[in-house]
């Protein structure tokens, strides 16, 4: 162990301070709003709440959970995540497997590959896409949130590259024993690719949970809004009457504490899967982030 020079010591201390500040900058705004969500109306309005709740109360949460729009949105979101994930994962696997083959096994691979790449480079844009969904009769249907993004090309590339790294000998042996492509895909490729599939799973779940714009434009009836679309309409439009005046809880809940509570309820599922997500950051996804 060599002795640290004075310059090195100064640097290290500065480094720890700078990184601590960076981390605090990331987390303090979230803690501040969390504290507001647990504070009373008057404390929040007076600007007393910093990083700890003042006049601790659960009223804002009770109020949010008593609103049927919020609960409806939650249910729509859950459905959307489940359905969207199932469709995305199935199509990702089914598309990635043939594309991972060499041209000797699939002569038209090149055309298929370009067929999918084009959609990453160019798209019809907002209005033509909206009109297509409308003409397909999908407005107000949960499928409008699932089918347009059914083939996540980015994830297909990720999984395709993973498939390519698998040892070819196992596959060859299976083919020798008379197995077909379907069997090789489900019995050999999928079980061997669990790390990649788990990574894609978590990212797909979070992406579906976080989507809000498609719900906003494809759903005519607000009762079909997923949670994030509903929140978009109430958080961003500063409607001072968001808290109904005839409500019992109104004495304790303000627009500000109410919004803060809803923001945290909507972020909660992400917070729950975050530790699992984090496991996969360094491994496997590095290639994915290059492609971003």
């Amino acid at each position: 162990m060599q002795k640290l020079t004075a310059g090195r010591k100064t640097f290290l201390i500065t480094n720890y301070v700078v990184l601590t500040i960076a981390a605090l900058l990331c987390i303090l705004p979230l803690i501040n709003v969390l504290a507001i969500s647990f504070s009373s109306k008057s404390a929040a309005a007076a600007g007393f709440v910093k990083l700890w709740p003042v006049d601790f109360t659960l009223s804002s949460y009770k109020y949010a959970l008593s609103k049927h729009e919020f609960l409806d949105g939650f249910v729509v979101s859950l459905k959307r995540v489940a359905l969207g994930y199932a469709v995305n994962m199935l199509l990702t696997i089914l598309t990635a497997y043939p594309l991972s083959k060499e041209r000797s096994s699939l002569r038209s691979r090149h055309y298929y590959a370009w067929f999918f790449i084009v959609t990453m480079l160019f798209n019809g844009g907002l209005i033509p896409t909206y009109m297509t969904i409308k003409e397909a009769g999908l407005l107000d249907s949960i499928w409008s949130l699932v089918l347009p993004g059914a083939v996540p090309v980015f994830n297909v590339i990720l999984l395709m590259n993973f498939f390519r790294e698998l040892p070819k000998e196992i596959e060859e042996a299976a083919f020798m024993d008379g197995a077909g492509h379907w069997r090789v895909l489900w019995r050999i490729y999928c079980p061997l690719s669990l790390p990649a599939i788990a990574t894609i799973t978590l990212f797909t779940l979070v992406a579906h949970w976080n989507s809000w714009f498609d719900g906003l434009i494809y759903m005519n009836s607000t009762s079909n809004y997923p949670l994030q679309s509903y929140l978009q309409t109430i958080i961003v439009t500063s409607d001072l009457n968001a808290v109904a005046s005839n409500d019992l809880l109104v004495t304790e809940v303000s627009d500000r504490t109410f919004k803060a509570a809803q923001v945290f309820l909507a972020a909660l599922p992400v917070l729950v899967v975050y530790p699992f997500l984090q496991k996969f950051f360094m491994k496997g996804l590095v290639m994915g982030s290059v492609k971003g």
Binding site: T5, L25, S105, G124, G125, L126, I127, W182, F213, V236
Partner: protein, 297 residues
């Protein structure tokens, strides 16, 4: 050598994805024809009147088009620069940390905002940046600074966008540089030490050259984003008060199309953006494959 019919299962597997992509990606691309029509939904794309380049002429004649284009490029370029520089610096700093616990904790915290939607972060930003009783202005008040309306002042708004976008993404963006750092040959550091190079010299002559390929790649690829100023963020944070400096192409397309129902014009403006972006992406990928050996498929 396997036979022709053995390819059939592979085509069957591709079929669902091809069909869905055809319907939801290629039909909308064909629907770009709307840009050259006086499109009326009741008549549909086959019976609406064709108007040639009229919609594009209309777009160019819009009094705010030039400023929207400028806002888009200005905001996007500032985001690209901040989004390149800050993650590289933070990755280098994290790399110098010896304590594994401290490093992991910092990483865990700074990656997190990336995973929250702009709806949630919009709600948080609107609250903390409020000029009335937001915590940011309370903090600035300690230094005698008058409350700043970050989201409602047209001079502040573009910089607020860049700052909050960088805030959301810088942590996650460090991942790629941290990964590249682990790939640098440790022998180079040993050799440098033997040659008498200190930590600073090592950073300058070993670490930075080691990161250069990935930095080049990320810079070149970001070229494709020059017209992407971040719809989801701007849409959730802007208001008519800041349209003069904060309105971007994507939000303009949304308002013309979805709010004013001028479908032809909105499609034309969207196409204008897509064509330029497409050119930039192709160019950047060309450059990337030439100078950094990068390939998509």
């Amino acid at each position: 050598m396997r036979k022709k019919w053995q390819e059939i299962p592979l085509h069957v597997m591709l079929l669902p994805g091809v069909l869905l992509t055809l319907i939801f990606s290629y039909i909308p691309i064909a629907g770009i024809a709307i840009a050259f029509q006086k499109f009326q939904p009741a008549k549909g794309i086959f019976h609406s009147k064709w108007v040639g380049w009229d919609n594009f002429q209309y777009m160019l004649d819009m009094p705010n088009f030039a400023s929207v284009l400028w806002n888009t490029v200005f905001i996007a370029v500032m985001k690209i620069v901040a989004g390149l520089v800050i993650p590289i610096v933070v990755a280098l700093l994290l790399n110098e940390v010896a304590g594994a616990w401290f490093k992991r904790t910092v990483q865990t915290i700074i990656y997190f905002p990336h995973f929250l939607s702009w709806v949630i972060l919009g709600g948080i930003m609107i609250d903390v940046l409020s000029p009335a009783n937001g915590i940011v202005n309370q903090f600035l008040g300690l230094f005698g600074i008058e409350p700043i309306f970050f989201l409602g002042n047209e001079n502040w708004f573009p910089f607020t966008l860049v700052a909050t976008d960088t805030w959301k993404h810088f942590g996650y963006s460090t991942i790629i540089y941290l990964a590249a750092l682990t790939g640098i040959d440790q022998h180079l550091y040993e050799a440098a030490t033997v040659d008498g190079a200190g930590r600073w010299k090592q950073t300058l002559y070993v670490t930075l050259p080691g990161l250069l390929p990935i930095i080049t790649l990320m810079t070149v690829l970001s070229l494709g984003n020059v017209l992407n100023a971040g719809f989801e963020q701007v849409f959730n944070l802007y208001s008519p008060m800041v349209y003069s400096t904060g309105d971007i192409i994507d939000t303009l397309v949304y308002r013309i199309g979805m709010v004013e129902s001028q479908y032809g014009v909105a499609t034309a403006v969207g196409l204008f953006k897509s064509v330029i972006s497409f050119g930039l992406i192709v160019l950047s990928n060309r450059l990337a494959s030439r100078y950094a050996g990068y390939r998509v498929f």
